[in-house]
Each structure stands twice: as structure tokens, then as C-alpha cells.
Amino acid sequence: MKQKIKPKVAFFDLAGCEGDQLQIANLEEKILDLLNLVEVVSFREVMKEHSDDYDIAFIEGSATNDHAEERLKEIRKNADIVVAIGACATIGGVNSIRNKQNHEEVGERVYGDNAELSELYISWEKAKPVDAVIKVDYKIHGCPIDRDEFLHVVESLVVGRVPNIPDYPVCVECKLNENVCAFEREEFCVGPVTRAGCDACCVNEGTRCWGCRGLIDNPNEEAHMEVLEEYGLTPEDVMKEFDLYFTWQKEARENE
């Protein structure tokens, strides 16, 4: 396949742990192949230089305040293609757990009694994924992202095709890997409503799916809630299962 463009790329981070950029920094020998495909002009985690002249912007983290919104709008202006990377950026991630909680209490929990006075606590009531603020062209899901999937997206953009991001549940990959279903191990799993693409890595390791890649486009949430209750969870516990990663998506779906 021929490379159509050698784009300039830049990495940005909002509210998040920067674990996704770390995945990219840790690409090891493949990072050289990556640098053949693209020119990195901004990547705070690994270089000092910065340029506002870029074609593709990779954005990690959630938007939580006006400053983030300004930055995002600036990035959107500069970039031809915007890619959200990691759960915080693609679906609001763990940041949005607090969206259903009392805003002041959240502040107090983090900053103590000084929350109201703290300059650090300038935050919207809701943490938002990037596409709630600006148009996003592609999403690389996961917490953290999968390195191979990141490379697949870059390579696709460079040759001019749409990356192949699955829209089927993790169950598919669990079956392909012949895993014993988490439910058979008396664990609760949100794999049946979660977007695959991770190769069911958590279940492969003997644990369960936590939902970090977000809901598939058309999940059967009601069925899954029913199932979780049948397996012995209380309605409250069921909601918690859905709140870890799905808070923003669930709210968006309810408002549709």
C-alpha cells in the first residue's frame, strides 16, 4: 500500500492520566516505523519542541472547564483530522463518574474545606468527552488504548482509508479466544454491551470486562441490566456496573 501523505501530528492532553500517550511513547521498536509514516511536531510527554502546524491531532483526556474548551477549539481550527484517544477522551471515561454526584461534594472530597476557594477547582459540573465540545473524526477507545490499534489507525489515515474499529461486543473476542465466560466464573461482566477491539484482554487474563471501550452503538442495556439482576446484583449494584465507564454515554443515550 502506498503512503499518500506524511502528515504532521501533534498530541494533546486534557483531564486524564496520560496513560494513553504513555502507550504510544512505549511503542518500542515500532516507534521508528511510526516516525517513517508521520512527523511528530508536538508531544509533551517525549519532546520539548512544539508547533501549531499539524495535520492530525491526537487528544487524550476529558474536557472539564472553559480552558479545555478554548484549547479544543484552537486544535480543531489547526487540525484536518482530530482523533480522540483513550476512554476519557472518547466516552468521558472515569472522569464522568462524578457527573451524577453533587458538584460541591466532589470538590470537597478532593480539595477539602478549601474547595470553594481553591483556584484548582475550576471545573464544569460534568466532565465531557472531546466530541461533546468539538467534532471528532476518529476515536481510539480503551483505558488505556491498545498500541496495535493506535498503529492501525495511524497507518489507515496515512493511506487514506477509514480505520476498522469494531462495533460488536467483547463477547465476540472472548469466544474467538475460547475464554471461560466471566459469568460462568460467577463474576459480573459488561462485555456483552462493550465495544470490542481489545481482543478481550482482561478476560483473557482471567478477570472480567469493565467496559473501558464504551458501549457499542446499539447495546441492549435493558437486557443486560436484567441479566445482572438475575445473577444476584441489586439494582444499585447494577447501576454501578454501568457507571464506571458508561456514565456519559448512558446520559447521552437517554437524552436522544
Partner: protein
């Protein structure tokens, strides 16, 4: 070496003719020098290594001069988008031809009413040009062609030639014409052309290709004209991944029968798929 039906033949793009914003005509030749050996209505799997394959109906008639064949491609997915970025002389892979073509022999000596909607003209053109090249083998030939807007009309130059012929009847229409666009022809959906045409009920076959929504309404109009189902031929679009009747993606069903569009179609007699909720 293993002989495998999954291995495409090497082919070269001889000529690229942009037709509309989304559609381009590709003239292609197999590198082994053979002709494709297709029937009108058949399709090929076009392979772009590293990107994938897409089933594309063959748009040229087997009666065309030379060894090459033509595909009219709409940029709508990964393979077709990448195809649109290729240059003359570039290589692609071709598997096929696959599927059943139009029943050209059965239609010899008959009146043929072609009805094309949008990109549906691409597979029909293969048969239309066949019929024009062997004009005396068919009785009356009528062509109805409709698009959403004038800018979407395909094969304009070639169609100018059809319009000039006095041994066929050609009618075209557009659903709408945006302001400022010069269009002196018909405005209205393709079904508006059907009531006005004369049909010899004993001798006419209708051959249709277009988007799913078009079939529904065209079939209703043809029913009003009392054309029997057995004399309506249509071509269906599905995403054939293998072309070999294996992968299952193109299977359509009713309660009485099921078909693999890649092998049993894409051309069907309407009587065989009537009432299949998954077919139309």
C-alpha cells in the same frame, strides 16, 4: 502453488474517466492478456492489497472491442475510496467474474424495457450495450434512466449517442433540479416515466437496477402495467465478501427459498424473490 479462488488476478488500470463527484469509470485489463469472459450482469471482486475487496458489477459489454473491461465505481467505502486515488497504469487485483448474468438468450427476440436508477445504470449498461451491438437479436428496446439531480447522470456522452439512435427509445428524468442548473428534461421520479410508455404485454421483459427504495415503486408501476412477474428481471446489491457462496453475507431468504446473491444472483427473476422481505 496452491490454487485458491481467493487469489486475485493481477490487473492494470488502463484508463480513468471521472464521471461525477462520486463516480469514476475504470478501464481495466488483466495482465495475463485474457479477456474477462463475463456475461452482462456479472460482477468482480476488486482487490486493493492491504485495504480489502469490494464487489463491483461489470459495466462494459462483452461485445466491447479489445480485452479490457469497465467498472463504474462509486466512492463509498474503503476500497472504492482508495480506487479513486489510483492512477492510470496502477495495479489492482480482480477475482471473478462471479454470479449469474442477465438472461440474454432468453430475451432474444423480445422487447426489452431497461429501467435504471442512479448507479443502477452501471450493470444495466453492460446489457444495454450488448443489445445495441446485437441490435437485430432483440425487438423493441426502451431505456428509462433516472437520477436524483442532473449532476449525477452517468455516461453522458455515450447516452447522447443513444438519444440519436432511432432504433431505440430513451427517456431520462431527474428527481429534482437545483436552482441555477440548466436542465431542459423531465423532472420527477423514475416511476413517472412508466405510465406513458407503450408495452406489448405478450412480448416485453423489464430489466431493472437501482437502489432498494426504487424497486418498490417501480415494481408497483410495472404491476399496474400488467407485466407478469416472470418477465421482470432485477439485479440486487449485497456485500459479497467471498463471491463463492460460502461467507454467508449475501444470503437472502424468504419462507420458501434462500439465495446466495453472489452465486444465485445478483440477477434474479422477480417471480423467484417476490415477497422476500430481505430481498427488496
Amino acid at each position: 502453488m496452491n490454487k485458491t479462488p481467493y487469489l486475485p488476478e493481477d490487473a492494470t488500470i488502463l484508463k480513468i474517466t471521472p464521471m461525477t463527484e462520486r463516480e469514476t469509470l475504470f478501464e481495466i485489463e488483466l495482465e495475463n492478456g485474457n479477456t474477462l469472459g463475463h456475461q452482462p450482469g456479472q460482477f468482480v471482486e476488486v482487490s486493493v492489497p492491504g485495504v480489502g475487496e469490494a464487489p463491483i458489477s461489470i459495466s462494459s459489454s462483452p461485445t466491447k472491442d479489445g480485452n479490457s473491461f469497465e467498472l463504474c465505481v462509486r466512492a463509498v467505502g474503503n476500497v472504492t475510496n482508495i480506487l479513486h486515488g489510483l492512477k492510470e497504469g496502477d495495479n489492482i487485483g480482480i477475482r471473478g467474474p462471479y454470479g449469474t448474468g442477465f438472461p440474454v438468450d432468453e430475451l432474444k427476440g423480445k422487447d426489452v424495457l431497461f429501467i435504471a436508477g442512479g448507479l443502477g445504470i452501471a450493470p444495466l449498461r453492460s446489457f444495454i450495450n450488448y443489445a445495441l451491438d446485437k441490435r437485430d437479436e432483440f425487438a423493441n428496446v426502451k431505456i428509462l434512466y433516472g437520477c436524483r439531480e442532473p449532476c449525477e447522470l452517468l455516461y453522458e456522452e455515450e447516452i447522447d449517442g443513444w438519444k440519436e439512435r432511432d432504433d431505440i427509445e430513451y427517456l431520462e428524468t431527474v428527481d429534482r433540479c437545483p436552482e441555477g442548473v440548466c436542465w431542459e428534461g423531465n423532472i420527477g421520479v423514475i416511476t413517472t416515466l412508466i405510465p406513458g410508455i407503450d408495452i406489448d404485454l405478450e412480448n416485453t421483459y423489464a430489466v431493472i437496477c437501482g437502489p432498494p427504495i426504487m424497486y418498490k415503486f417501480v415494481l408497483m408501476e410495472l404491476d399496474k402495467k400488467n407485466i407478469p412477474d416472470e418477465r421482470i428481471i432485477l439485479s440486487l446489491e449485497r456485500h459479497m465478501k467471498c463471491g463463492l457462496g460460502k461467507c454467508g453475507h449475501c444470503q437472502i431468504n424468504g419462507s420458501n427459498a434462500e439465495y446466495y446473491v453472489c452465486q444465485d444472483g445478483p440477477v434474479f427473476n422477480y417471480a423467484d424473490i417476490k415477497g422476500f422481505e430481505e430481498a427488496l
